[in-house]
Amino acid sequence: MALPESEMREIEAFLIVEARLADESRYDEWEALWTDDALYWVPRRPDIDPAKEVSHIYDNRQRIGTRIRQLKSGFRHSQTPASPMRRVLSNIEIAPAGAGEYEVAANFMLMELAIQSTRNMNFWGGRIQYRLRRVDGQLRMAVKKIMLIDADEPIANLAFLV
């Protein structure tokens, strides 16, 4: 059950890098973390069926690519300039899921400064479920499901990498 310490540190380090790349809007490096069967999901409620209900974000690998190209176009006005932001990740729970895969969960809070419009500080928080997979020895992200506390409330623009 319990993973070796080094493996837990490796997984934690991966999450921390993923968070930093998102915080710093380093789009290409962030995109490179994904597997080909990627799912980047921000549901309206934790438990919805995506075949029946709409989500804030439900990107497959191709749509992640489109999202990144849009952000890099220089004309994504809702992220021009990109929001300065930092997130804290914590309460990390790691479980092996066989075949070099891991189910990981964490809580987060994110402060995002909307400098492209109101310059308001937006506060985001919730829980993230990740599915990680070892590909050619490297950890990659197959699923990132972000369950915002207020996902079903009226929220501000979610045009940055959450």
């Binding site: 309206r44 804030h56 006005h77 419009s117 109101t118 009226p154 623009n157 045009a159």
Partner: protein, 424 residues
């Protein structure tokens, strides 16, 4: 800062321009609540959101909280979310199914139809107390057209038919995309909050001129085919229309027709991928009309003041303050068309909501619009685009012009002026 005078709106709304104060002055917002949202007709919900007896959901009419229910007679009801005893909001949950609403404060119980069922220790209420007089109140007027629920908080005033007017044709076109002639809003609502005046939304939604600049990033990011929606040459031939009563439209169908392929409004999916839908549509409407629907697609139109028929999405808006608004979005699912609906969900996520590829940029435009209007020169916003080339279209009899012209915005404002000029 002296004495506050009533605002004369005809000095602020002109044929070719409107004054910035209309977006920024809290006194204007207050007048709008009185004259538009708290007396005129507004969209509240869709009947398919409360399909079963006892279903309920919460909404706002202007600044006032309501509950929409399906009552014991299977009728849709709109009720104020306010207990008739001491005014407590009786329903806190956003949606659900129930036999009764029990007020948490003193335990009075109301049926889903609003009727007062039970009063704790009723004797104390005295001899004059009649349960039948103490049911939940509702808007004096409520009307449903093809499932779209509208209400007016004024007992008298413009009739519903007069209000909706030719907007009916737009709603018809949306519903007739379903082989069963019914849409279903069961996919849930994405909710968006931004710091802008509510009027920027109906203006933006049928403004064809902003697409190339405001949505340039999507044009650049998507391959030519997927970006068909923004195809230049279509731009030239799509049409903006004034449907009267503040209802406005961008009609993309001429562009689709010229390409001669159906479903261009739906990511250009091939018919082969939707065999049952195509069959059921032809069955339901006959080959010709079905073809027409699949070619032209659903409308892209505003029903004044707060409803947006956004092609395969439905959206409405809730004004919060002069500089704050909420926008709600949901995919328009078609009864009897499962093949379509699963695609509609993913398409809706791409286009609508705070995390999508389109709406965040519109929201930022509206916020930056609001911020810019804090500067007081020039005083006016320019609305003259197309004034010299707009025309009455012989087929529809509607004032129309090219997609980039501000026919729609002028249509909104001329109706706005008419409504706001009525004494409150």
């Amino acid at each position: 800062m002296g004495i506050q005078q009533p605002i004369s709106y005809d000095a602020l709304v002109r044929r070719d321009r409107v004054h910035g104060r209309l977006y920024t002055d809290p006194a204007v917002f207050s007048d709008e609540m009185d004259r538009i949202y708290h007396s005129g007709w507004v969209f509240v919900a869709h009947a398919s959101e409360v399909p079963n007896m006892g279903d309920y959901l919460r909404r706002q009419i202007g600044r006032q909280p309501v509950i929409v229910t399906r009552d014991a007679h299977n009728e849709v009801r709109v009720l104020f979310n306010r207990c008739t005893h001491r005014g407590t909001m009786i329903c806190a949950k956003e949606r659900g199914n129930t036999a009764t609403f029990t007020c948490p404060y003193h335990g009075w119980t109301f049926g889903v139809g609003g009727e007062l069922r039970g009063v704790h220790l009723p004797a104390g209420m005295g001899s004059g107390f009649e349960k039948s007089e103490m049911g939940l109140a509702g808007p004096p007027r409520m009307q449903i057209y093809r499932g779209f629920i509208f209400a007016s908080l004024a007992a008298d005033g413009q009739s519903f038919d007069d209000y909706l007017g030719r907007g009916k044709e737009l709603i018809d076109r949306a519903c007739d995309m379903s082989p069963d002639g019914e849409i279903e809003l069961s996919a849930g609502w994405l909710k968006h909050r931004f710091h802008a005046n509510w009027k920027m939304i109906p203006e933006n939604n049928t403004d064809g001129y902003h697409v190339y600049a405001a949505h340039a990033s999507l044009l650049k990011a998507t391959n030519p085919f997927a970006s068909f929606a923004f195809d230049e040459d279509k731009g030239d031939i799509s049409i903006t229309r004034d449907w009267g009563g503040g209802h406005t439209e961008i009609d993309f169908s001429p562009g689709y027709r010229r390409k001669g392929k159906p479903f261009l409004w739906f990511g250009g999916v091939s018919e082969a991928k939707l065999p049952n839908y195509v069959a059921r549509m032809e069955q339901a409407y006959g080959k010709e009309q079905a073809r027409k629907s699949m070619m032209d697609g659903p409308p892209h139109a505003i029903i004044f003041p707060n409803l947006f028929l956004g092609e395969m999405n439905i959206s409405f808006m809730v004004p919060i303050a002069a500089n704050e608004v909420l926008q709600y979005y949901t995919p328009m699912l078609l009864k009897g068309a499962p093949e379509v609906n699963v695609r509609a969900l993913r398409q809706g996520e791409g286009a609508m909501g705070p995390g999508s590829f389109l709406l965040p940029d519109d929201a930022t435009m509206s916020e930056r619009n609001q911020l810019g209007l804090a500067a007081q020169s020039p005083e006016w916003l320019d609305l003259r685009r197309g004034l010299e080339r707009e025309y009455v279209d012989e087929n529809t009899g509607l004032l129309s012009s090219g997609i980039s012209d501000e026919v729609t915005n002028r249509a909104f404002w001329s109706h706005y002026l008419q409504v706001m000029s009525r004494a409150a």
